[in-house]
Each structure stands twice: as C-alpha cells, then as structure tokens.
C-alpha cells in the first residue's frame, strides 16, 4: 500500500482539495434540501407518493460526478500544467505512482464523503417521511456511483497525464471516457440492425445497456430504468474503471515533468484526439448512410435529397472541428497547417465505419434453436400481458412474478422453435417490440428473444398460444395472486399514509382469507380476461382501491387491489374515514350540482362530479349539444336530477353493500380543488335506477329530449 499511497502526501492533497470537496458536499446537500422542502410542503392527502426510484437517486449523483470530478482532477493535477509547479512536485521524495495514487485517493475520499453525506441524509429523509424505499437498491445505486466516480476520475487523470494543458486534458478525458462506448455502440447499431433474433439494447449489454459502463451512460438512460442491481454489470464497470485507473497510473508513470505547458505529450496523441474530434460529425453521417443504403427508406433513414448536402456539411464540419481543436490546443496557426496532413485519417476511419459493420452485419449468422434444446423460457415483457407498468418505472407485481418464473411446457418450446426458424430475417422488429422471452437452451445459449410485431401482428394466434401455455401453469397463477409480503407501503386515495396503512393491514387479512378466484377479482391489472369479477356492483358503486409498494430484493414493484364487498371490513374502515373527513363537503358539492340543474350555473357549482366510478364531468358538454340547450338540465334529464336530488339528502354510509360514493372537483381561478369521496346510502325510492346505472356503466335517461337537428341552431331562444 505504501508503494501506492504516501500518507503525508495523501493528507496534503486532501487539504488542497478541501474547498472543492466541501463545495461538493454543499451542492449535494442543497439538492437534499430541495427534496426536503418538497416533502415538507406537500399535502399528504393530495400529493401521492411513489416508490422512491433508483434513477431519482442516481441522476443527481451522476450529474454531480460529471461536473465535480473533472474540476477536482484538474484542481489536484493543476501542477502538471505549470513548469515550476511540476518541477516542485516531481522533486519531492515520492515515486510517480505514489503521487498518482495519493492524489486519486484524496479525490475519491472527497467524492465518497460528498456521496455518503448525500446518500445518508437522503436515506434519513425518506425514512423520516416514511416513503417507500428500497435500501438494498439504494446501496446498489450508491456502489454504481462509486464505480462511476472511479471511472470518471481515471479518464480525466489519463487526460491530465498525457497532456500539459487543461484544455487538451479535458478533451482527452472526454475521449477516454466516451469514445470506446460511442464507437462500440455505433458499430453494433449498424451490425445488429437487421438481426431479428436480438435487439441490441439488451442482447449486447456490454455496449448498449446503460447499466454497463455506468459512467459513460447518458443521463437520460440513467433516468429511464438503468439496471443498477445488475451484478455482472457492476463488476464489468468496476473492472473497466480499475483498468482505466491502472492506465492512468501507467500514463502518469511515463509522464515527464518537462511535459508541463506543452499541449500534448506526443504528436501521435495530439493527432489522435484531433482525429476523434474530426470524426464526430462524420460518425453521425456514417450511421445515417449505413442505415439508408442498407435498408432503404424507413423511419430511421434520411431522405435521398438530403444525403448530398448532409454529407458535404458533415465533411466541412469535420474539417472545422479538426482544425479548431488543433488551433485551440496548440494556439499556433503553423501547427494547424502542419496537422492538416493528418485530416484524411478522419475520412479513412469514417469509411471504415461505413463499410465494415455493414459487411459484418450481412454475414452474421442468426441463432436457431430447436424445442429439444430449450430447457426453459421466461416472459420478460409485461406489455403483451397487459400488465400495466408501475408508476415511476417500477415493475408491477405481476411482471415481477412473470419475469422470475421459468416455463418448461412443450407448447411454448415448439412455438419458440417456430419463431427462430421463420423470423430470423425480419427487419421491422425495431418498429415495435411486442413481447420478449428469455430462452435458456442450456449449454447452447441463454438469450433474450424480442418477439417482433410481425409475429404479433400477422400471426397473433401463435403469441396467444404461447401465453395460454404459460398461464396454464397453476404454480404461476398461485404466485400471481398471493398477497405480497415483506415491507409494504400502502396508498389510498384521500387517506393519510397512516390511515392507508391501517386500511391496508385490514385488507391484507381479508385478502389472504379469500379463495383464488376471489383474489383474482381484486387484483387490478394482470392477465387479460381475468377480471370479470371487477364488475361487481360494490366496486363500481364505490370505486375504492388500494395501492401497495414493496420490493423483492433490489426490485421495486407495486400492485393495485380493489376494495369492495369481498373485503367489507377494509371498505368500511376506508369509507368511515372518508365520510368523517369529506362527508359534508361532498354533500354540499352534490347539492350545488343539483341546484345548477334547477336554476343554471352559479359560482359554487362543481366543475365535475363522480358518482361511484362514473364521471359526469362531461355531462354538461353533451347536454348542451342538443336542444336541451334551451331547457334547464333538471327538465332535460329528469331521472338523473331525481337520483342526485335524493342522494343529496341521503345519510352518509360506510356499508359497502349499500352505498355509493360521491366526489367532486371545484375549479378555482388557478387550480382545481378535489373533494375526496364520501359514501352515501343508496336511496330506497330510486335504488333500482341507481343499480341499473352502476350495472350498465353509463348514464341513460329514457326521458331525454331527442337530439337537435342542424336547423334547430337557427332558432333564437329569446324570440317567442
């Protein structure tokens, strides 16, 4: 260890980086304070919470790393860019390895302090506000960010070691950080685009998946579901980061003190970075041309008439980038003139990028698999099963169960074999990925197959047969409809978190006592055709549901359940809280609505009204579309008026078998005010009408006046 880190110099570098380190801590603390302020000022009734997502935690950290690490690296190594300072540091009794190791360790220490303080405070914040929070996933995110920190540090250290001015060092660092990934990604896009058997994004994770090489992952990929808990990805990123760190050490070891103030350590390096910059506009052009000429017109390709101007512009920009870089880095026109002879390298490499991937792409063999070789398969994509995505990118419980369940049925295996035979050359798979299965063919391969829209669109019966085969697995169904255990957070519309937890506890007890078929009636979302029971009257009359958030390992998930007469105690608890809180406001809104039907709109008329699960907020719109324009709503829809009138005088009720909920929305000058529901006893004298309304799912009124004709619009209502 002594060979790598010199204690005294490490302490010294920690001292030197103190200001930047503390600024880092404060920046991240500021982000936490904003979060804290948003938590404090939120309305627990109206601002619903979601599972705290990994990307929510990762994005600020990665953004911070992108900004602060280059500042820290160039701050710590600023002595390498000044002759006098460089001489001083090279004269002190340390090896170059110790200089590099101690400096890197000091930078990392400050970054770790900043990240730990950020992550620690944030975790405390989430715990204090009792938000759904997966600590294991958070740890993974944190580890990923540490790995990213090492990678960014190493990239910019290499940049510093190879160069003698900050400008060139910064751009060299960017090249080290992003060029390998960008080049490989562009290459695989061009190679894989006609492969029906695999979508590059997940089939080539080392290059395309944002979870791999975490530091070079664009922020938007981090935000959109980067897989932070992927252990192989973390190991890959860590090894890559360590390799870069070692490369930085070697570059540092080779660096000479006299390199300070000279833009580049060697002509070769300067040319390489310059060529990389020159390649930037050409690389984009290369990908476009490749796609255009190989696949003809598609949504990915540019029109023919634009190709020539695009090519000319790209080459001009490329040349300008190349010269500009040389000029800024060397600050000499002579150097630009000398460097121009290297510019053709950009064109040669671009040509290589254009033709080689195309050549490889057309020669790639598509994997085939027979039913006998398939050991098992899994369904990864929930969309084909109409399992809704969770909010905030979390999985639904059903998707989690499906993705972890291995199927071994022969029907499915044969269908996959058919697929691999017939669909290997489909080029339209990128346009829509209808679903995917992971095939485990033992020693042959383990591969994700993305089922293309052709299979889905033209031969949809195959897809359905596959899912039918899957869903005939009783152990899957049992697992799908078991109530999730572990640490669970509940959310109920109109309830405070602690009230929702109480309702949730009662609901869980009742749910676990139900039969499988009854549970199916309660789980919202899942397998199509499985929710007939959700048509229960009590469900439609109250519209009550409960959402839970939980996690399995590092995977967050959420699930929504209906609360109805199958879970009467939970419903009663829920309704009694709602009635106590919202009863009188709901009644007032209902009366105001009734009054409007009688006399026309007034200032206290609700903007929208819900009776049970049914919204009548657009009722006024269709009401005025016909000749009822000239009548009061009361006369135009007498049955609706009667129901609402009676309901507005009915007592509040928490009996799920004999109540209907009423909620409303008031529009004020700049905002909507939601009046949460309250349960009203269904009036005896119009019970049949109400039940029919609930059963049929839409408003009807036999007494409504026939629709108006076009001629009716010419009638002036004020003229007798």
């Amino acid at each position: 260890m002594k060979r790598l880190i010199h204690k005294g110099f490490f302490r010294e570098m920690v001292r030197q980086l103190r200001t930047k380190g503390l600024v880092s801590v404060f920046i991240l603390a500021g982000i936490n304070l904003i979060t804290f302020a948003s938590f404090v000022t939120r309305d627990p009734l109206r601002d619903s919470f979601t599972h705290v997502s990994a990307s929510e935690m990762a994005a600020p950290m990665l953004f911070f790393l992108y900004i602060m690490l280059p500042i820290m690296v160039f701050g710590a190594y600023r002595w390498m860019n000044k002759r006098a300072q460089s001489d001083f540091y090279h004269a002190i009794p340390l090896t170059r390895t110790q200089l590099y190791g101690s400096t890197s360790a000091a930078i990392l220490l400050w970054i770790v302090i900043a990240l730990v303080s950020f992550a620690g405070f944030r975790a405390i914040l989430y715990a204090a506000f009792d938000l759904p929070f997966n600590y294991l996933l958070y740890l993974c995110v944190f580890l990923n960010m540490l790995i990213a920190a090492v990678e960014i540090l190493a990239a910019f250290s290499i940049g510093s070691a190879l160069t003698g001015t900050k400008f060139v060092a910064f751009f060299s660092g960017l090249v080290v950080l992003f060029l390998p990934r960008a080049a490989l990604s562009a290459f695989w896009i061009m190679v894989e685009i006609d492969s029906a058997f695999a979508v590059p994004f997940s089939a080539l994770p080392f290059f395309m998946n944002p979870a791999f090489n975490i530091a070079a992952t664009p922020i938007h990929s981090i935000v959109y579901r980067a897989d932070f808990a992927n252990v192989p990805a973390m190991l890959y990123s860590l090894l890559y980061a360590c390799a870069l760190l070692v490369l930085g050490g070697l570059a540092f070891h080779k660096r000479r003190s006299e390199a300070a103030e000279i833009p580049y350590a060697s002509r070769l390096l300067q040319t390489t970075v310059g060529v990389c910059f020159g390649l930037l506009p050409l690389a984009g052009l290369t990908v476009l041309l490749n796609v255009r000429y190989r696949y003809g017109y598609s949504s990915y390709s540019v029109p023919y008439e634009l190709l020539t101007p695009l090519a000319v512009t790209s080459v001009l920009f490329s040349f300008a980038f190349f010269c500009l870089y040389e000029l800024i880095s060397s600050r000499k026109m002579k150097a630009v003139a000398r460097a121009m002879k290297f510019y053709p390298a950009c064109l040669v490499i671009a040509a290589f990028l254009l033709f080689v991937p195309a050549w490889i792409g057309t020669r790639r063999a598509q994997p085939k698999v027979t039913a006998g070789e398939i050991r098992s398969y899994r369904i990864n994509n929930e969309s084909t099963l109409t399992v809704p995505y969770g909010r905030n990118g979390d999985d639904s419980y059903a998707k989690l169960v499906l993705s972890q369940h291995s199927f071994t049925d022969e029907t499915g295996k044969r269908l996959i074999e058919d697929f691999s035979k017939t669909e290997s050359l489909d080029r339209d798979f990128l346009s829509l990925t209808a679903g995917s299965v992971t095939v485990n063919a033992g020693g042959l391969f383990r591969k994700v197959i993305h089922v293309p829209d052709k299979w889905y669109g033209e031969d949809v019966s195959n897809l359905w047969r596959l899912y039918e085969a899957c869903l005939s697995d009783p152990s899957l169904i049992e697992e799908l409809y078991a109530f999730p255990g572990g640490c669970v957070w509940y959310e109920c519309s109109g309830l405070l978190p602690e009230e929702a937890n109480e309702v949730g506890r009662i609901f869980a007890e009742e749910y676990n006592a139900l039969s499988l078929s009854q549970r199916k009636a309660l789980q919202k979302g899942g397998i199509p055709g499985m929710f007939k029971e959700s048509d229960r009257i009590s469900t439609r009359a109250t519209g009550l549901s409960i959402k839970l958030y939980s996690c399995k390992g590092t995977t967050n998930y959420e699930a929504t359940y209906l609360i109805n007469d199958l879970t009467p105690k939970a419903a009663e608890k829920y309704l009694s809280i709602l009635n106590a809180r919202n009863g009188e406001r709901s009644r007032k809104a209902l009366k105001a609505f009734v009054k409007w039907m009688e006399t026309g709109r007034e200032s206290d008329t609700p903007d929208a009204l819900w009776i049970g699960s049914f919204s009548i907020d657009d009722w006024t719109a269709w009401h005025y579309d016909d000749r009822e324009l000239f009548d009061t709503p009361k006369d135009a829809s007498p049955k609706l008026y009667r129901i609402l009138k009676v309901l507005s005088d009915a007592p509040l009720s928490a009996d799920v078998n004999n109540c209907i909920t009423v909620s409303a929305r008031d529009y004020h000058i700049r905002y909507y005010d939601f009046i949460f529901p309250a349960g009203f006893e269904i009036p005896k004298d119009c019970r049949e009408d109400v039940l029919r309304w609930i059963r049929e799912g839409e408003w009807w009124d036999e007494d409504r006046v026939p629709a108006a004709t076009e001629d009716d619009w010419d009638v002036d209502p004020d003229v007798p």
Binding site: H6, G8, F9, R11, E12, R15, Q16, W79, K82, R83, A84, Q85, D87, F88, H90, A91, I92, P93, L94, T95, R96, Q98, R256, S257, E258
Partner: protein, 303 residues
C-alpha cells in the same frame, strides 16, 4: 557524493546537456556557473530527480535518483522559479513540506523565520521577489536534507540577505556536513561562497576546480629588471601569460607562490610584486589555456 556519468538531456531538438560528467563530493559548496542556456538548471533538475536523462546516469552514493524516494529524501531543491500554493502563507507551506520531507524540522523553521524576520501568516503573494526567495530558502533549509540544490539562489536578494543566506549555507555545510550545489550566471556571486566551481558551456562542464586551489595556484607577478630581457628569462616558471611594457612585465604564473618568489628574487629584479587574481581573472587565463574565450562562455558576466 553525486556522480553524473555521461549525461545527455534533450528537449525536443535542442540538446541541453551533452555527455556531461561530474562528481560532487560530500560536505562542500559546489558552484555551477555558466551563461543562460548553458545547462545549469537542467543539471540541477537531473540531480533533483525531476528530469530523466536520455543517456547516462545520475546517482547519489551509487543509488540512482530518478523516481527513487529513498534518495530524493536526502535532496531538497530550490528552483529559480519558485512555487508556492496559491493564496497561502508560510505556515501552510510548512505543512506541505512537512508532509513529504520526513526530517522537516519545525524548530529549525521557526528559527529561520526569526532570522529572516518574515511574517509566517502573511500571504506569500504579497511578498516581494526577494522575500519569496527567502521563504523558499527557509523551507528548504528546514528539510534537513543532505543535499541542497539552489538554482540562482541569490537572485533578487539584497546584500544583507545574500550574506545571511551564504552564512546559512556555510553553517549547513560546516555543522551538518551537508552538500550545497549552487548555480549562478555570475562568477562573482559564487567566488566567495563555493569550495568547488564548475563552468558549464553548451551542455558540458569545460572547467572544474577547487576554488582555494585556483586562487592560490594562479597569481600575477609584476617584475622589472635593469637590463633588457624577454620571456625566456622565466623559463623555469610556468607562466600562462606574459606582457611587457617598457622594462616592467606582468606574468600570470601557475605554481607554488613561495617557490616562484624565491626563483624571481634570485634574478635580482629592480621591481618585484606578487598580486592576487580575482576568480574571474583566474577563469579567463585557465580557459584561455583550454582554448575557450571566457567572454563567450560567460557573456553576461563580461557584458
């Protein structure tokens, strides 16, 4: 002992040192003199382990210096262009030096501070050029190293401080047996400071000698005789130069002074006087012997 063997150092196309050899013994003040671009600073940086020579080797007591902390612990280098952390004071710089030099002495640092009367809390950027050099000297001497390398160390110091620094260097050498290597483009600067002097020119040492020996072995004799004479009269004396104006002639003589005096007195001169030479004069004659024109080697000195 510092041993430089056949060192060549290039910067791009230009050769700073070309096959240089030198030995710097322990416990002396070694002066490197030469005009700008002669290679003095480069040699010092090579000795300090900052640069790596393209050819040859630099060793201290047989151990290579470059990238060798064990050897570099024994060396401290005060460059011509000084480095201090930005917006900092001497106490902060003390921490930096103390963190990397194991033998850094706080007591010595405080003593030197009072000797130089510098305010340790003052921002170094407010210091004058001379004060900054004093600060660097204080820090270097506090490191308690065996070898102290000074590059143009008297540059910017007033005469009082110059003497103070010289005395401190003497003390280091006398009390601790340290070795000081000092560069200057001014021969006069080093004349009364160094035990040994080397003259660098175009990347090589063209002359190296013990100062005391130089001063005593080379002297000027003014002599006149009543009869006519020429240089052949001094055949038994090693004279580097002979000039005659009328009956009075001047000789630059190398050799034992007493012996030479005795020889000349035996010739019964009507005038006889032995005059000491300045170091510069010694260099002029010695280099003339070697075929160099002193005014070219130390242009600034002469100009």
């Amino acid at each position: 002992m510092i041993t430089a063997t056949n060192i060549t150092k290039r910067f791009g196309d230009s050769v700073a040192l070309d096959g240089l050899n030198c030995n710097i013994p322990e416990g002396c003040v070694y002066g490197l003199v030469g005009s700008n671009g002669a290679g003095k600073s480069t040699l010092l940086r090579l000795i300090a382990g900052i640069y790596k020579p393209e050819c040859g080797s630099i060793a201290i007591d047989g151990q290579p210096v470059y990238n060798n902390p064990e050897v570099k612990k024994r060396i401290v280098f005060v460059p011509d262009e000084l480095f201090f952390l930005p917006k900092t004071n001497l106490l902060r710089m003390e921490k930096l030096y103390a963190s990397v030099y194991e033998k850094f002495s706080h007591e010595r640092f405080m003593t030197l501070l009072s000797d130089f009367s510098l305010n340790p809390n003052a921002n170094l950027s407010t210091f004058s050029k001379g004060m900054r050099r004093q600060a660097a000297t204080i820090l270097a001497l506090s490191c308690d190293t065996d070898y102290i390398l000074f590059d143009e160390t008297f540059d910017g110091l007033d005469p009082v401080m110059r003497n103070l620094v010289k005395n401190l260097i003497y003390n280091e050498v006398m009390d601790r047996g340290a070795t000081a290597v000092i560069t200057s483009h001014s021969l006069r600067e080093l004349e009364d400071t160094c035990d040994q002097l080397a003259l660098l020119h175009k990347g090589g040492i063209i002359f190296e000698s013990d100062v005391e020996h130089l001063k005593t072995s080379l002297f000027k004799v003014q002599v006149a005789f009543s009869d006519e004479y020429d240089r052949s009269r001094f055949a038994g004396i090693e004279s580097l130069s002979f000039t005659k104006h009328g009956s009075v002639s001047s000789l630059i003589v190398r050799g034992d002074r007493d012996e030479t005096e005795a020889k000349i007195k035996a010739m019964n001169p009507v005038l006889f006087e032995v005059l000491p030479l300045s170091l510069e004069e010694v260099f002029v004659y010695e280099m003339g012997q070697l075929g160099y024109e002193f005014s070219e080697v130390l242009k600034q000195e002469v100009n």
